[in-house]
């Protein structure tokens, strides 16, 4: 089909913006949510500390999953019943060892959780099926907020013989145009473009009535847009004489968030002589964390939907956001790997080039130890060096200062009379490093071509070992689950390395 005609279908659908909302009255899930909110309020900061952290994480996961997964608990495919069971087990262990007021609140939470379990989440499941039956088969689909919920619903549909496709946001957005799309959950839980860029003639949001959702959605540029997009949801009419008896909760508050204090406490300790850099903490799928240095430039990433040969990409570190996929080494950094791979491209001159590099780095570290970094930096600037980055220059990650002129000033300051061989060696190292980087990209691209990326889709992480490459070249693709807003000072060597993190469970 002509690409213009194909694209025209999407432009036409985008003009038909009319999402509507269908709310499900479900008192049991509402009172459970209320009990959880009241306990969290009472606990305050204690909610992040043992033994409460696990109880609260299981409680939040139970609330989130039962709201996003329209599957009866009795189905073997249900993943929402698990955190409820976990919550009940953890709570029973706490009984008798806590203050009476908290004991009462915990008792209410347990009682209401048992109520939700008994109700079996049937109301939401029935409502979603009802809405789906309004559409024509083959032209109707269901969209869930995440892959875990999609797998559960698809499993349940198979059990009951309902053949509706179950999609998650990105494939839904990148796919075809439907007649009817049923979205399970509040609009606030989805990328706003799900509603501002419809992929169906009719879109319906289905969620429980105690969840207070946004009523309006802006385009990706938001308020600053020069010409913007704003979509209002058609709300259900309130029944005459009805009163809202349940406590409403703002939809964004329900989204599971990492416990940043617990994640930060999991950062591996580094030696005391490491220089400190500013970094942002990110939580990765699979219960991992990583530190992204603010001063860093780029990091290797993956775009699974890009055309073959263009999937391994270089992402700007400051633009890493939830949903980005990073390629990281589980042991060590990519820079260390490239150093090893680059050595093979240096040829017969390898030893001489490495010796020259070791020579100037050794002299620089000595000078910093002797004179102090501040004095060395001042001396270099006085000799017209434009950029002075001593901590980085003396680190193993740096091949050479970027500008030849700065490198020459540094070498002369370090007592090297003829900088030319050092600069030439630096250029040779940079070229070898660059070639190693290209080779690694090509090898990873080939591996991505051969692999089924389903584990990455479902679990958010997948190991990639390029064929014929040394075992050190194995990288893991991690989906970023969250990025902290705050910047922290951390040792340079702890950045870009994934670590097992506490406080990152139950995030999907």
């Amino acid at each position: 089909m002509s690409l213009i005609v194909q694209a025209d279908g999407f432009y036409r659908a985008s003009v038909q913006i009319s999402p509507e909302r269908y709310v499900v009255a479900d008192t049991r899930s509402s009172v459970f949510s209320d009990a959880l909110t009241r306990l969290a309020r009472e606990l305050g900061e204690d909610a992040s500390e043992p033994p409460w952290d696990q109880v609260m994480a299981a409680g939040r996961a139970a609330r989130w999953r039962s709201a996003t997964e329209p599957v009866p608990f009795g189905s073997p495919s249900s993943a929402a019943a698990k955190p409820f069971t976990e919550l009940l087990a953890l709570s029973s262990r706490l009984r008798g060892s806590i203050e009476s007021y908290r004991q009462n609140l915990l008792g209410e939470l347990v009682e209401t959780a048992e109520g939700v379990l008994q109700s079996g989440n049937e109301k939401l499941a029935e409502a979603v099926l009802d809405c789906l039956h309004d559409g024509e088969r083959g032209e109707t689909c269901l969209v869930t907020v995440g892959r875990r919920a999609a797998a559960a619903v698809a499993g349940w549909f198979e059990e009951i013989g309902e053949g509706y496709p179950v999609l998650v946001p990105r494939p839904f957005m990148a796919g075809r145009v439907w007649d009817l799309a049923i979205i399970t959950g509040a609009g606030a839980w989805f990328p706003p473009q799900m509603l501002t860029t419809p992929r169906a003639a009719q879109t319906t949001l289905v969620h429980q009535s105690w969840i207070r959702d946004f009523v309006q959605f802006n385009g990706v540029f938001g308020e600053p847009a020069t010409v913007g997009i704003r979509v209002s949801v058609r709300e259900p009419r309130p029944r005459a004489g009805s009163r809202n008896l349940v406590a409403e909760v703002e939809a964004p508050e329900l989204v599971p968030k990492p416990d940043w204090r617990a994640v930060a406490a999991s950062i591996p300790r580094a030696s005391e002589d490491d220089d400190l850099v500013d970094a942002k903490l990110a939580v990765l799928s699979g219960g991992y964390g990583v530190l992204l240095p603010i001063s860093g430039d780029r990091i290797r990433g993956l775009h699974p939907d890009a055309p073959p040969g263009e999937r391994v990409v270089s992402l700007k570190l400051t633009a890493v956001v939830p949903g980005s996929i990073l390629l990281l080494r589980e042991r060590g950094t990519e820079a260390a790997l490239l150093r090893t791979l680059a050595a093979s491209h240096l040829g017969a001159d390898r030893q001489r080039i490495q010796d020259l590099q070791a020579d100037w780095k050794g002299r620089l570290r000595e000078a910093i130890g002797r004179e102090g970094a501040g004095n060395v930096a001042r001396a270099l600037r006085a000799r017209d060096a434009q950029t002075v980055n001593l901590a980085y220059w003396s680190s193993d990650d740096c091949l050479r200062p970027q500008r030849d002129a700065d490198f020459a000033v540094l070498l002369k300051y370090l007592g090297i009379r003829d900088p030319a061989p050092f600069i030439a060696a630096g250029i040779a190292l940079w070229r070898a490093h660059s070639k190693a980087g290209h080779d690694l990209t090509r090898a990873l691209e080939q591996r991505v071509e051969q692999l089924d990326l389903a584990p990455l889709e479902i679990h958010g992480l997948q190991e990639l070992h390029p064929e014929g490459a040394p075992s050190a070249a194995t990288m893991t693709a991690f989906r970023v689950a969250a990025v902290s807003a705050e910047t922290i000072r951390v040792p340079r060597h702890s950045t870009r390395r994934p670590f097992h993190a506490r406080g990152a469970a139950w995030l999907e």
Binding site: M1, S2, L3, I4, V5, Q6, A7, D8, F10, Y11, A13, S14, V15, R170, M173, A174, P191, Q193, T196, T197, R199, G219, V220, F221, P224, A225, T226, V227, G228, I229, H303, P304, D305, A306, P307, P308, G309, E310, V313, S314, L315, K316, T318, A319, V320, V321, P322, G323, S324, S434, H438
Partner: protein, 321 residues
């Protein structure tokens, strides 16, 4: 062909069922953006860089339609200063031995190394020796143009009747053999190549359609007869313009990856950033645009003179010079 509105259709495209139809309005809107960029690039250059970022329900065909509009308008306004005008050689005596040259002869275009003028009337090159009287035009090929040697017969150049239909001026050969570095399109080579092959024709029931590529004419090192644009892979390490004496007048960044990777390294007076609201990496690209806008002067809809197609949104700003 007449549009539903009663006005003449602007373009004809294939309808996907073996027939033809009028090009949709959104396609024409993107072509207009390119034409607007060609007209305004020189004016905006004096007042800092302008970034026009558009998020579309789908980005297929948007960048190539804008590139089409740019090349068409650029050629129409020929005479306006090009960012990198070709180095025309007034007399063949001005050439130096060993220089790479582009020659338009009576029957062919030749790219090769110039050796010498023999007996005052024969030019000797790596591609052969010719009478100087058959040389219609000679240009030096700058060192930063990575063009392969070869020769191409004018009689074998396809698409000239199509260009005659599509171009504002009736000289397809001059268009085919002219050079321009004023437009760079950055994106996925696989996607852009497929989109440039899309057939199009004028709105007056043309006998045959031609590929958009015939107008956009991206630089091809194996066929350096002439070019109107340069298409660059977003995955390159260094920008194509790294060695150019001037930055391109307009850069089109096609897709989230191209925007996140290259926006900060674009020095064109006018940058068009095209995002697909359904693509992976959208949030990263929006975050890069937001960072750019933070230190820039926001532009109002009235400052831009272009309305995005229905279903699209626009973020426009001017960085301070």
């Amino acid at each position: 062909m007449t549009a539903v509105s009663g006005r003449p259709a602007v373009f004809t495209v294939e309808d996907g069922h073996g027939g033809r139809c009028e090009a949709p309005t959104w396609f024409v809107d993107w072509v207009r953006l390119g034409a607007y960029a060609a007209l305004s690039r020189l004016a905006v250059a004096r007042r800092g860089q302008v970034v026009l970022a558009v998020s579309a329900p789908i980005r297929a065909m948007a960048a190539v339609a804008a590139a089409y509009g740019f090349c068409w308008q650029h050629y129409r306004s020929a005479g306006a200063a090009s960012a990198c005008p070709p180095e025309l050689v007034r007399t063949l005596d001005g050439l130096e031995t060993g220089e790479k040259v582009w020659l338009r002869l009576l029957d062919r275009v030749l790219v090769g190394t110039y050796f010498q003028i023999q007996h005052g009337n024969r030019i000797r090159t790596s591609g052969g020796t010719f009478q100087t009287r058959v040389v219609q035009e000679a240009r030096r090929v700058p060192a930063w143009v990575d063009a392969e040697d070869g020769h191409w017969l004018i009689s074998e150049m396809t698409g000239l009747p199509f260009l005659q239909e599509m171009l504002p001026r009736n000289d397809p050969l001059a268009f085919v053999t002219s050079w321009s570095w004023d437009l760079v399109v950055v994106g996925s080579l696989v996607r852009l190549s497929a989109e440039l092959a899309e057939p199009i024709g004028p709105g007056n029931s043309p006998p045959e359609l031609g590929a958009l590529r015939e107008i956009v004419r991206p630089f091809d090192r194996c066929h350096p007869v002439g070019w109107q644009s340069v298409v660059m892979s977003a995955h390159r390490d260094e920008p194509v313009w790294a060695d150019w004496p001037k930055y391109p007048g307009v850069t089109i960044l096609d897709g989230a990856y191209a925007v996140s990777r290259w926006l900060e390294e674009c020095h064109s007076p006018l940058v068009i950033a095209i995002l697909d609201r359904a693509e992976a990496g959208l949030d990263s690209a929006v975050s890069v645009l937001e960072q750019g806008r933070m230190y820039a002067e926001p532009l109002a809809a009235g400052d831009v003179f272009w309305r995005p197609p229905a279903g699209c949104e626009l973020l426009a700003y001017r960085s301070r010079p």
